[in-house]
């Protein structure tokens, strides 16, 4: 029986209210923060309150939200914009989708608050077209909020007006990077550009722009309702409040969890996630998606926040958390993420476009059993260069999955290149299945399970695998009831 480890602030209304009925949001205190702000607070006070709360960007970077708004407020512009970044693209992360599907009004309220703080009257929600249900509910939410006069002209008689539009993204990972996102909203290719100028100076249509992630925004109304002081009491010294994680992988209770910053990985994996599937051994947890890294068992007890995760070679990222058991090959995992980033690289800068491709090719070579120890050195060197020289966050963080797995699971890389073995038995080129003649009773189960019909033998006589035809699928290994098949 696990205790109350979770605390829901960003997810406070998800699964509680009907997201298609604005009255349910209002009954739970919705738009009270905006009402109070417009009624009695100056824009500067709003920014001060957010600074006091210690809220930092939940999309990955962890930049202080109050400061971000202050920059945009200080910069002059004919118009200013607030953008909600709902381009959630990490494999395995779905917290932003859940918030938009479960509590879309909270995002609209927060965008209006940010608009008031910086002096912007227009906002865009940049959302990927692959989230049809979130888009549907968001569209309904915007319509209802307009009808209720809670966004639009002269909100609650305050004289402040704020419009919100939806902009669909085509689902490119790079568009999570704010400058690429802005290009995409403008109708151009989703390519990042050099910073400075930062969006707070020259963003959408060259105007001061603030881009905030969905989860960051979902926290904002709560901060004003509960008070910045109370919010800042939750969490660690540098990271305040809570973080939502999408718990996935080899864990019993996969799901969406929200915990105070400073909760340990052990609490998340074992108390909330109820441990590893099938009672297997924990091997690593991947955080930060393709930009993050794999964290080994020795760090299960560190309190997680932006800084502690960075120190151990990973990052908070948007909050994907993939639990891996002992049957996971870390080289294969690194290869999986690199395949993703090479696919998603926009191709604008050379280190990311070509460098990551080369990293991926070396990893392929290693998993095929053709790698050498020099390849391991190349991985490290090339990874470092890509990190230092790429244009945007995508390229700068793409080598992280390789570098962090090399740091903590070097032995596994060595087994692949030196002994030509995959200890987890995942890399099929390095795996071999054999039938132990002494143990085989000739039940024919393996031969029946084999999809390539490469197992021969008579009934009640030991069988044999034709190695030339074997595709190393492991079907015989699973079918054998007498432990007569040796996997090596």
């Amino acid at each position: 029986m696990s205790g109350h480890k979770q605390l829901r602030i960003a997810l406070r209304n998800c699964g509680v209210i009907d997201p298609e009925n604005i009255l349910e949001y209002i009954a739970r205190g919705g738009y009270m923060a905006l009402g109070k702000i417009l009624d009695e607070m100056a824009p500067e006070d709003v920014i001060d309150e957010l600074k006091k709360s210690g809220l930092r960007g939940r999309g990955g970077g962890g930049f202080p939200t109050g400061l971000k708004l202050e920059f945009a407020r200080r910069n002059e512009g004919e118009r200013k914009y607030i953008i909600c970044n709902a381009d959630e693209g990490d494999p395995g992360a779905f917290m932003d989708r859940s918030i938009l599907e479960g509590d879309p009004q909270s995002i609209l309220e927060a965008m209006a608050i940010c608009g008031y703080a910086v002096g912007a009257n227009e906002g865009y929600v940049y959302i990927r077209a692959e989230y049809p249900l979130a888009i549907e509910r968001l569209t309904i939410a915007i319509r209802q909020a307009y009808e209720a006069g809670l966004i639009g002209d002269d909100i609650m008689g305050s004289g402040f007006s704020f419009d919100i539009k939806i902009k669909y993204g085509a689902g490119a990972f790079v568009c999570g990077e704010e400058t690429a996102l802005i290009s995409s909203v403008e109708g151009n290719r989703g390519e990042p550009h050099f910073k400075p100028p930062f969006p707070a100076e020259k963003g959408l249509w060259g105007m001061p722009t603030t881009v905030n992630n969905v989860e960051t925004l979902a926290n904002i109304p709560s901060i004003f309702n509960m008070g910045a002081g109370r919010f800042a009491e939750i969490g660690t010294k540098t990271s305040k409040g809570t973080k939502v994680f999408a718990l996935a992988g080899n864990v019993n209770k996969v799901g969406l969890v929200e915990v105070p910053m400073g909760t340990t990985l052990r609490e998340i994996v074992y108390d909330i996630g109820d441990g590893i599937v099938g009672g297997k051994k924990f091997k690593a947890v991947q955080t930060g998606g393709p930009s993050g890294g794999c964290i080994p068992e020795q760090f299960l007890d560190i309190p997680i926040d932006y800084e502690s995760l960075k120190e151990i070679g990973s990052m908070m990222g948007s909050g994907g958390m993939i639990i891996m058991d002992e049957d996971t090959c870390m080289v294969d995992i690194a290869k999986y993420y690199l395949e993703f980033t090479t696919d998603e690289s926009c191709g604008k800068c050379t280190p990311c476009r070509i460098g990551n491709k080369r990293l991926y090719e070396i990893l392929c070579k290693i998993t095929k059993g053709e790698g050498t120890e020099e390849d391991l050195d190349s991985l490290k060197e090339l990874g470092g260069i890509i990190k230092d020289t790429s244009l945007c966050g995508l390229g700068q963080t793409a080598p992280n999955p390789v570098l962090s797995t090399m740091k903590y699971f070097y032995d596994e890389y060595l087994s692949h290149v030196r002994d030509k073995k995959c200890p987890a038995g995942i890399c099929s080129s390095l795996t071999r299945y054999e039938i132990i003649a002494d143990k085989c009773i000739g039940c024919t189960m393996c031969a029946k399970a084999c999809p390539t019909a490469c197992i021969s033998g008579k009934v009640r006589e030991p069988h044999k695998i034709d190695q030339a035809k074997c595709i190393k699928c492991g079907a015989c290994f699973k079918a054998c009831k007498f432990d007569a098949i040796l996997k090596s």
Binding site: A33, G35, K253, G255
Partner: protein, 128 residues
Amino acid sequence: MIKIKSFNELKELKESLNAQREHIRIIVGMATCGMAAGAGEVFDSIAGEIMRQGLKNVTVVRSGCMGACHSEPTVEIVKPGEDPVLYGNVDSSRAKVIISNHIMRGEIVEELVLEKNYETASLGEVEQ
């Protein structure tokens, strides 16, 4: 929907909405994850059963994700003055059992209950 013209009107609306809340709420988790697991059928079956039984004081709510992806579809029963009860792995026939036992006779269907291991910060009130 009436237009809210001042902060006071918003506060009044909130109060009047909360004063009306005497209904039993049956909340079905209907985010993408729940829908994929069959929450749509569960919702239809619950709504149909409420109609058939002629239950007047029950509201069936389509909500977002409750976070329990491991046990979708999920259904939560909120009776006024009682602790909410969260059920997991609900299908159409189990939904009917929940209605006849929990809603109509007040008996919790223990074998389907999921532990709710989170607190929601009480954030409804504006601090004065």
